[in-house]
Subunit: 232 residues, 2 copies
DNA sequence: ATAAATCTTTGATCTGAATCAAGAAAAACC
DNA sequence: GGTTTTTCTTGATTCAGATCAAAGATTTAT
């Protein structure tokens, strides 16, 4: 399988280019460029002027945000077929977060003029993008609600489930999370501390809901976790 | 001043219709319909199928969200020139929140087919909407970061400042917040309780940073509040 | 193979903020 | 005008979860 068809396939996977003909795809492809990232490469820093619009073809990125005191949170993990840096379409946008590859990753990058031109040429692309962004808002609003109203352990449960849905694969013992997540990572994603995460996971392990190792988690009883996340 | 020119003016104010000609405006106007809401009217409920896209011409709406246990948070207040229910452009969207007028309000409503048709006809509208939505995401990401990493009193400070910027008017004694905000409202907006809000505002009043009454707040020293919100 | 670095666990303590309780003040109602 | 309802304040208490501390487990480097 040649790289081109490979890439074509991954683009196809992304919702942003649906409703377009094959020819139109090809046109879009030409306007972006393909990049392979080594693990732990910073793609852009929070605060930088936004110049690139990014689609992940393979691998995963981590999107993080720092506050004034330097405390970090994880906004989300971005997998194959997903977009980021949509802020590039803004007049004078700056990246509101930092993006880093957590493993080797293939991405396609469009610069700002290319994106603007594409959206004007194909209104469907703008509308599709709108849809994706609206899903992001929905996700964020839910997480915002959770962090305002729910207990830490509920939030940790929801975090694991949320990541599981996007990056989980079935195994004999349960659903495995395909991202190497440290306790600190889970804490940054849930708005808590690594100590609380560690204690919570230990408790769940005793109950048989999960199995966890170093940067590795298998959810053996997703149903119990869902139940718990909804009414503790 | 006749109602039409009034409305035209308020539409003009909204960023969503920029880059369009006057004729195009008029066309868009015809496709929506104007509604006047009494105070405390529910426009839509969280979970309802999304059928209408809304622009506020005058007055204010409150957008709230409930979790499974019935705890409420305030997502934002929506003032003149601002949009809501963008989720209507999704294929099978449901409103993720509840919208209610907090005072008498004039709004323009477009149904889903009209919005879709408009966006296809005028790519700029879709792109403008994209921009507005991206600003919303940025705001939410910031608030999410804050609620994950900052102290309650900092968050209350940021909440007041955030609302002040969108709904503040200069007076002799300081900047007055034009929305009647109860302690409970501020708590719901900041992710805390009315008791903590009351204590915090009392403390700031003693310091001379604010003056507050029943559902009424004047920020007498915005600079001190900003300072405090950034490094407590 | 040994050392160094990184990640995880668990106990002990502390503290910020929620909760509980009870008035006081202001507005709305009859 | 007086009663009822809503909102606000402040003190006392509680508790969830952060922080501190220290040891154990795994991985990586030399």
């Amino acid at each position: 399988m040649d790289p081109f068809s490979n890439m074509f396939e991954s683009l196809h996977k992304s919702d942003i280019f649906k409703n377009l003909t094959s020819q139109q795809y090809a046109d879009l492809l030409k306007k972006g460029r393909n990049i392979t990232l080594r693990p732990k490469t910073i793609l852009f820093h929070q605060g930088d002027v936004a110049i690139s619009f990014i689609l992940v073809n393979q691998g995963r990125l981590k999107l993080t945000k720092l506050n004034e005191q330097g405390k970090e949170i994880i906004l989300r993990y971005i997998g194959a077929g997903e977009l980021t840096a949509a802020v590039t379409v803004l007049k004078n946008g700056n990246y509101p977060a930092t993006a880093e590859s957590i493993e080797e990753a293939d991405i396609t990058v469009w610069d700002k003029p290319a994106v603007m031109q594409i959206m004007h040429q194909y209104p469907d692309v703008a509308i599709n993008l709108l849809n994706l962004i609206l899903e992001r808002i929905d996700d964020l609003q839910n997480r915002y609600l959770e962090v305002c109203t729910e207990h830490v352990d509920q939030r940790i449960a929801r975090s694991l489930l949320r990541i599981m849905r996007r990056a989980g694969s079935k195994t004999l013992s349960g659903i495995q999370i395909d991202i190497p997540l440290s306790r600190q990572n889970i804490a940054d994603y849930s708005g808590t501390t690594l100590y609380t995460v560690s204690r919570t996971l230990s408790a769940w392990e005793k109950k048989g809901w999960i199995k966890s190792g170093r940067k590795q988690i298998v959810i053996t009883n997703p149903h119990a976790l869902v139940q718990f996340s909804e009414n503790r």
